[in-house]
Chain length 366, copies 2
């Protein structure tokens, strides 16, 4: 991981303060499709402040201004200032080039070739490191030992898109071009629905949130059924889970199809990587057990059909990311700490208080 100024240059050196006054804060920023979370931690990885706001970043060239404002607000909340910050870690939902601090492509944010790292450094005067959000999250889960002290860990994120992040032999696996874990575009059905990527039948085109919703809306429109279109906001995939829970058979079928597709992805990942655990997270996974049940049923079918599959798909292989694990923003803190060579510090201490749930302390910004 590369930052944009020497990390050895401490904030105390910059500010002419003595080392005793150096608070050495580390800031994590997790930019989500709808919300951006900021976590301010001390040198030992303990949470000092947390700030959350809707992701209302405006045009790409204004994004750095908006993010810098959020960081400054979180620092004020922590009783600190820019000069106290050692490094800022940013998790971005898209492809990033950590060496250049560039967001290569973040489709859902409308960003392309955005030099977010240097832009934030210019505004905050501090080093900034960037990473893909799923990759940062799995590193955070690993370093915090959320699922134990493991040599390997995978995170399969089912949200607006589908991708995986992996820690292999204790290290974050980025791949030759920073594209490892793009499993959402593995082809499940060569004749299936067209994916945004251009191929047909990608895992993402069947099981990501927008795919689940689009199939349900199509079916409901065709049948003249489905939940009434109330409210001003367009519904998300959660509407399909709600309809299924209310007994809608079309919604149930769509969720079952998505679950079987995700189980297929889990099997492929398990075969390819042989990971200790594959954690399932992402926005769609917030539906909880109704989301997990069809995945588990399909994995059980694989196990029943094949002794090898039963061996590969160990009972404890798949774990649902616990609600409130706040994996994204802790991941952003973790990449910042790794850039400083700080190790896991108190990140993994059992005494670490559970992360505050997003709805806990929202501070509006937009």
């Amino acid at each position: 991981m590369t930052a944009f100024e020497p990390l050895a240059e401490t904030s105390s050196a910059r500010n002419g303060r003595g080392p005793g006054q150096d608070r050495s804060l580390v800031v994590g920023v997790d930019i989500g499709g709808t919300k951006t979370a900021i976590l301010v931690c001390d040198r030992d990885g303990r949470q000092v402040a947390r700030h959350i706001a809707p992701t209302a970043l405006g045009a790409p060239d204004r994004a750095a201004d908006a993010i810098a404002s959020l960081v400054l607000a979180a620092l004020a909340q922590a009783g600190g200032s820019r000069g106290d910050v050692r490094v800022v870690g940013v998790g971005v939902p898209g492809r990033v080039d950590p060496a250049r601090g560039e967001v290569s492509l973040a489709v859902n944010l409308g960003w392309q070739a955005l030099p977010l790292g240097p832009q934030l450094t210019a505004r905050l005067g501090r080093p900034v490191v960037l990473e893909n959000d799923v990759r940062a999250a799995v590193l955070g889960l690993h370093r915090r030992r959320v699922f134990g002290d493991l040599p390997s860990l995978g995170l399969l994120a089912i949200g607006t898109g589908i991708s995986a992040g992996g820690v292999v032999a204790g290290e974050l696996h980025r791949g030759a071009h920073g594209r490892a874990g793009e499993i959402g575009h593995a082809v499940l059905d060569r004749t299936g629905p067209r994916c945004a990527c251009g191929l047909r039948g990608c895992l993402e085109a069947i099981a990501a949130g927008p795919a689940i919703l689009a199939r349900a809306l199509d079916a409901w429109t065709a049948a003249g059924t489905g939940p009434a279109a109330g409210g001003s906001e367009p519904p998300g995939a959660e509407a399909v889970f709600e309809a299924a829970a209310a007994g809608d058979p079309v919604a149930g079928d769509i969720i079952d199809t998505a679950g079987r597709a995700i189980a297929w992805g889990v099997h492929v990942l398990a075969l390819a990587y042989d990971l200790e655990h594959i954690v399932i997270g992402g926005g769609v996974s917030h539906a909880g057990e109704p989301f997990m049940a069809p995945i588990r049923r399909e994995l059980d079918r694989y196990r029943a059909e094949s002794p090898l599959a039963a061996e590969i798909l160990r009972p404890d292989l798949v774990q649902l990311l616990p609600p409130g694990a706040d994996a994204g923003v802790w991941g952003a803190v973790t990449i910042a700490r790794e850039a400083l060579g700080l190790g896991s510090g108190s990140l993994g201490r059992p005494a670490e208080p559970p992360a505050v749930a997003p709805q806990g302390r929202e501070v509006g910004q937009a």
Copy 2:
């Protein structure tokens, strides 16, 4: 990688020879389904002798005797003896536990829970390290820089089975339970032909040698066509490539289906791992261009349909393992050298003479 006696105990110490007389040989053994190759190298990784024999190992409890005899014959050819050997590396077509020196399961050899490492050590009096053959081969290709000096490299072996080996961030990726790369059992078609593993439509059940042959034999029998059953040996998948080359449309279709399936596997591997190159090898790949052409055509279709696929499936991503690369036995030497901490030595020197092709210097043993 663990051996069964301290590797620091050199052969000179064992034999009471002075260091000047210590030849410090490293032996690689590649156990194939039909042939076993032995390579004797000096300390710098230069070939001293090569020995090849049919794999006619008899019952599992006699396998170590047969392999030890081959090793001793190769050593005699090299003008050396057991006492000159630092370590023996063995590549096995199956699942191994390197820490215990056990072959957990090698279906095609009929081995299960075979303590081959300790058995060979008992017969040869030297340390023995075991590894899966595909994994050893990819490590050898990487360390010898056959495709350049790369941070990552994959090998997809299409033979009696299908599996992959990978070097990630410069290190062999074994996985949490030594099962990384079992991509042959990823499910391409949940309603496809039954795989030996129990699932339906695994990549291996469509594109491995026995699957290609079985489909052709079925089709030929049903149609009353196909090549005449001549000779005493059962035909292999090469008979299907020969028939296709002679214009048999059934054979052509089967090879095309296999090629599309392998392209699918390449895409999945490329998405999951983001490797510098994916080398395609294994017995079926020896058919060369008739084998590669349908794979390339399908990869081109992916690229034409999807800009992302075009980016993932870079033109130089897929490489055919050159004939005579002798990847298996050099892989066995490589795992032996790695166990000694010897590094790549002369393994990668451009001056390294090309490996002798298997048919070059066969010494019958069975």
